[in-house]
Symmetry: C2
Subunit: 173 residues, 2 copies
């Protein structure tokens, strides 16, 4: 009885199944990290401002680029138009956004922060930056640059590898 039971024997070196350790697997690690960060932020925004992450993202882009249409907002926030539609509804309800319609193309809406929305944004933005600062405090200055660069590279590559229908990369327009 010397090791022929495949459930007991040590796997062959070079065996892929043997090399994979979830705790070092980059996609897994990215997901866990991103989740902790997002949930931690989401919790704070929700508690203090009644803002969801999608709503916060929309406010952030509209603060910088007023009068975008819903679809333009979607592009800049990496959300789909349904998510934008829903988040916009919430922001309109809380009067943090105003919507007008492009005269000349009445399908197109133009979104911008209301004065109230702008005031809220001015309170949220510093918190967001503080959180980011606190997170990056664990890194040296050069690591911070490196981080941005690595994310750039990985993002580009991830898009290229992504073979889903309609996923970013081969928009048919």
């Amino acid at each position: 009885m010397s090791g022929t039971d495949p459930s007991i024997v040590t796997p062959q070196p070079g065996d892929a199944a043997d090399q994979l350790h979830l705790e070092h697997f980059i996609p897994y690690r990215l997901s866990v990290l991103s989740n902790i960060v997002s949930m931690s932020i989401a919790d704070q925004y929700e508690r203090e401002f009644g803002l969801s992450i999608p709503q916060w993202r929309i406010m952030a882009v509209l603060a910088r680029y007023p009068d975008l249409s819903a679809i333009e907002v979607a592009e800049r926030t990496a959300m789909d138009k349904v998510a934008v539609s829903r988040a916009v509804r919430g922001l309109l309800a809380s009067r943090r956004l105003v919507r007008s319609y492009d005269q000349g193309d009445r399908r197109r809406s133009m979104l911008r922060l209301s004065p109230t929305g702008h005031a809220v944004y001015k309170r949220v933005a510093p918190l967001a930056l503080q959180y980011e600062q606190a997170l990056l405090d664990s890194l040296g200055a050069s690591d911070r640059q490196t981080l941005q660069r690595l994310i750039d590279r990985l993002m580009e590559r991830a898009k290229a590898l992504d073979g889903r229908p309609g996923a970013t990369g081969s928009g048919r327009s």
Copy 2:
């Protein structure tokens, strides 16, 4: 009429609201990157093996550490016990997992891959590693090490910053 309307005037330098660009904001970027990667992988696993990400994670840890309980699986996969319970149900239904009960503590289950499950795992694992390789191909060897290190640091920091009730960091046991 020289610039007193706050909605038109250029924000003060140092104004947080002015410094925040969503497209450079690390939490946002991590989230977008992680989403592309996860969805791209999830799509492949679902198509080729009928596996969800939670199921795949469970298989990965059980391949390495057989006979964990559901809660131990939860700890090693960063999922909560409800998610594990559901994913396990699916894996049992597809006969990729077998469950026995710890005799001596009949609450505790012991989970392990069935031979079928093991066979599936041996086909999935190489794909997972190939994807990771392809993703990391965009990086030099030293950048790869750096990436793991940066994720370590950020993860640690993110946990420390996370003030949610019951979130990882101050488990009361």
